[in-house]
């Protein structure tokens, strides 16, 4: 094998960084699915819109962190509004109808963004421009900071679900919606809140990732497909499984692009998916079928 050791180290780092972003996207998706039985096809569009809000805020204020916070808040409010107008009327119907509705939402948002912001990709400046030397490369610190921030957000979500009062409400709603309602938990608002949190996570990952790639109207499509693969491989509605699967698949993706072109390396994640479906249809990391 003519691949030097340095390549492996660099690709491992790249894989972990993109894996953490993917985990952030996928955990929003799996949170919404696990708790509400809604397959959110528009998740990638929330990511894209979040990135655009970030671009606009960044252009107005020049602060990356303000952009990150503004994007999360705006998209959380927007997600709640979308939920109230289009998804709440579907409550109690077949979960498949939610795929249809969110697919419609994704079409509308994507084409609205294309019309509003134009086809030219925008960029956000990196908040940190520092680099460190890794073998023959100058590796940007910012990439590591993204991974760290993504981990912090996911960790925060986990702590919130585990210990926060509202987190306990959310978990109670997941376990038994009717019983939670009987105990006085305002279930409709919990569901709206969960959708808002999931949307905010998508928006945050959009802003975090924006400095690495351009922001354009179609950036959500790529992410949503990868996130769907991750969520199926990790087991739908399984937060830990999604994170593990995201890193696993991103690492495989990174390693395989040592040999084939990056556009083909996504086939590796497809192969992982097929093998998972063949041997563990409920997901690699899900012990019990739902």
């Amino acid at each position: 094998m003519g691949i030097p050791f340095a390549h492996f180290v660099i690709q491992t780092l790249n894989g972990i960084v993109s894996g953490m972003i993917l985990a952030l996207v996928a955990s929003g998706l799996t949170l919404i699915f696990g708790i509400m039985d809604v397959v959110n096809f528009a998740h990638g569009e929330f990511l894209m819109l979040g990135a655009y809000v970030g671009v606009l805020t960044f252009a107005a204020t020049g602060s990356f962190w303000l952009a990150l916070i503004a994007a999360s808040l705006v998209i959380a409010a927007f997600g709640a509004a979308v939920y109230l107008t289009t998804l709440r009327p579907l409550l109690g119907r077949d979960p498949l109808t939610t795929i249809l509705a969110t697919f419609g939402i994704s079409l509308v948002l994507q084409n609205y963004a294309l019309w509003q912001f134009g086809p030219v990709a925008r960029k956000i400046e990196e908040p940190f421009t520092g680099q460190f030397t890794l073998f023959y490369l100058d590796y940007p610190w910012y990439r590591l900071i993204i991974a760290g921030l993504a981990a912090a957000i996911i960790g925060g979500l986990w702590l919130f679900l585990k210990f926060g009062t509202y987190g306990i409400w959310i978990r109670a709603t997941t376990q038994d919606r009717v019983m939670a309602q009987a105990m006085g938990i305002p279930v409709p608002w919990v569901l709206t809140g969960v959708f808002a949190i999931g949307s905010a996570m998508a928006a945050a990952s959009g802003v975090l990732f924006a400095p690495l790639v351009g922001v354009d109207h179609a950036m959500g499509v790529d992410w949503i497909l990868r996130a769907f693969i991750v969520v199926v491989v990790g087991g739908m509605g399984n937060l830990g499984g999604s994170i593990a699967a995201a890193i696993f698949i991103s690492l495989l993706d990174a390693y395989s692009s040592l040999w084939v072109s990056p556009s083909q390396s996504i086939i590796v994640s497809f192969v992982v998916l097929i093998l998972t479906l063949l041997f563990r249809p409920t997901g690699l990391f899900a012990p019990t079928p739902k």
Partner: protein, 331 residues
Amino acid sequence: MKLRHPVVFWVGLVVVVLLLAVAPLVLPVFWRRLLTEILIWGLLAMSSDLLIGYTGMVSFGHSAFFGLGMYGAAAALLNSNPPNLWLALAAGLIAAAAVAAFVAYFSTRLRDIYFAITTLIFSQIFYVIIFTWTSLTGGENGLTFERPALAVPGLFSQQFTATTLHWFVLAVVTGSYLVLRRITQSPFGMVLQSIRENERRTRAVGYPVERYKIVAVMLSGLFAGLAGVLYALQNEFAAPSFVFFVVSGETVIYNVIGGVGTLVGPLAGAGFYLLLREGFSRLFTIKFLAPLGLGGLAGMSYLVPVGLIFIAIVIFLPQGLLGFARRWLNR
């Protein structure tokens, strides 16, 4: 005297088919082309209705079958001299059937949402393969080829005109409708419908549910491939964008708009969608909007209003436009 159902049905079918057959003789070129296209997309939508409406499995991967039918036909047309219509048809169907068998084997292990996502991802696999395998498929540029002649060996051979192509498409689509209708009314189709109603009970009664599902996906994929071949014939090219999952999404939209479980509903849905597309594309130009004081909306994609209409139909009209006639059409 009360007319019997079969009489009304067949007379209605003949009238509609005759109207569609006469249409290209009176319509201007643009609308004639659009009508042919509606029939082709309608066939794709009908094929997926076999899964969505009759078996209760929402496929988000029909673009793979459609696209492989298209590329199969393209391969046959590029490699045979002179290009042969029947060879193209056979190659397209074989390609679509092979892909359908592969997808069916894996995706039918899962149900509901998981099935939808898996078929979606499978169609993306084929999209990536077609997009990146440039030497074979032409990559992003796709393949262009000559349209074959309409020929029956030993009898006659004639170049397609726009009108004869329309008639050919109409004949294939009508034939496919009758076959699909027969399938849904056969004992096999009844089992599919009982899987839709209650999968566990169907299994308990003793039907091998998995096998039925696999056959259903394959049949559906075969007809989707047929639609792909027709589209290749009409447009004389095959492009990876037709394998992209947006096409699958549109197929589901046709079904939902028209009404699932009716077979003709999805065709009507395709027609409605494409007419809306034309209408809004014309509306969203500065010429129309400026007098209304809405000049700012110019250049917006037709998909924004069409998407909103689609969401409204999902929420308020879950049966679709022709859903009210479902019982009657399936009798």
